[in-house]
């Protein structure tokens, strides 16, 4: 294996570089996936039938908490990658652990939000609007849940094997995924929640 020491560890071999490029292409597909979900949501947002509208069920506090938790977790995992580049394993693992805890906090608020919606009579079957709302939020939430377990295994692997070209590459790719979840959340926060709450 040819290791290029002029590059950060996660880019240091040909395989590593290609893994990262390949993951960016996957993220491109994810952008299109969420694009179709937003398409359906925007098309069906006014089709509320007998069910509640967005402005009736959305609440600002949990949404702000979710936004703040995910935004902070995205910043913290960035610090984790920075610590990894410095070769500081302990700091890296601490930042990764904080990231996952913030992710869990996000999921806690989101699950609680879904339970509240359910009790207010908004379920997956209530109307076209609630169907697309839960599908879009749920797809993002499922990504965060998957990311939590992925991150957990990354932490275990780095703790066991240390920072090597291989584990650094995996950690970096995981960080791309986690930042991407925050990017998607920015659009959900703005164009589903804020837009929904300011709709007249």
């Amino acid at each position: 294996m040819k290791v290029d020491h002029s590059q950060p560890l996660e880019y240091s071999t040909e395989q590593n570089r290609l893994n990262i490029l390949g993951f960016w292409i996957f993220l491109g597909a994810e952008i299109m996936l969420f694009g179709t979900l937003f398409t359906s949501y925007f098309t069906l947002v006014d089709r509320t039938g007998d069910g509640p509208t967005g402005v009736e069920i959305f609440e600002i506090f949990p949404v702000l908490m979710e936004t703040f938790l995910l935004l902070t977790s995205s910043f913290v995992i960035g610090l984790g990658i920075h610590a990894m580049r410095l070769g500081n394993k302990k700091a890296m693992l601490t930042f990764f652990a904080i990231t996952l805890l913030l992710g869990l906090g996000f999921l806690g608020f989101e699950i609680d939000e879904f339970i509240v919606y359910y009790h207010e009579g908004a379920t997956l079957q209530t109307s076209a609007f609630t169907s697309m709302l839960f599908t879009t939020l749920g797809t993002h939430g499922a990504h965060v849940t998957l990311g939590f377990f992925w991150g957990l295994f990354i932490i275990i692997q780095v703790a066991k094997r240390g920072i090597t070209p291989e584990t650094a590459n995996k950690s970096f790719i995981f960080s791309l995924y986690w930042h991407f979840l925050d990017v998607v959340w920015i659009f959900i926060f703005t164009f589903i929640y804020l837009e929904g709450m300011t709709r007249v």
Binding site: W24, T36, F75, G78, L79, L86, I186, L194, T198
Partner: protein, 95 residues
């Protein structure tokens, strides 16, 4: 300790918080739909770019061009899907 908090990323985080707060202005203050949507679009896309460039290091590698070509293409497809659908389904475009 200080070396663990690079200025670029700290500023990126602060900028993200400020942009979130800017989008919230639309919620707290009464303003027209056009101005509201403009603020939403501007803040959301700047924030997404901050994530890509500051946190995801999209510019730092030799593959940068391929990465951006791929991302722009994906965004184009997503926007065409969204606005194309809105055009026929909601805005009443007929041929």
């Amino acid at each position: 300790m200080r070396e663990l908090f690079p200025a670029k990323q700290v500023w990126g985080f602060i900028l993200s918080l400020v942009l979130t707060a800017a989008a919230l202005l639309v919620y707290f203050f009464n303003m027209s739909r056009t101005i509201g949507m403009t603020i939403f679009i501007v803040t959301a896309f700047i924030q997404a770019s901050v994530q890509l460039v500051v946190f995801m290091h999209a510019r730092e590698t030799d593959d940068s061009k391929s990465i951006f070509a791929n991302i722009y293409y994906a965004i184009l497809i997503a926007l065409v899907t969204i606005f194309g659908t809105l055009l026929c389904m909601l805005w009443g475009w007929k041929y």
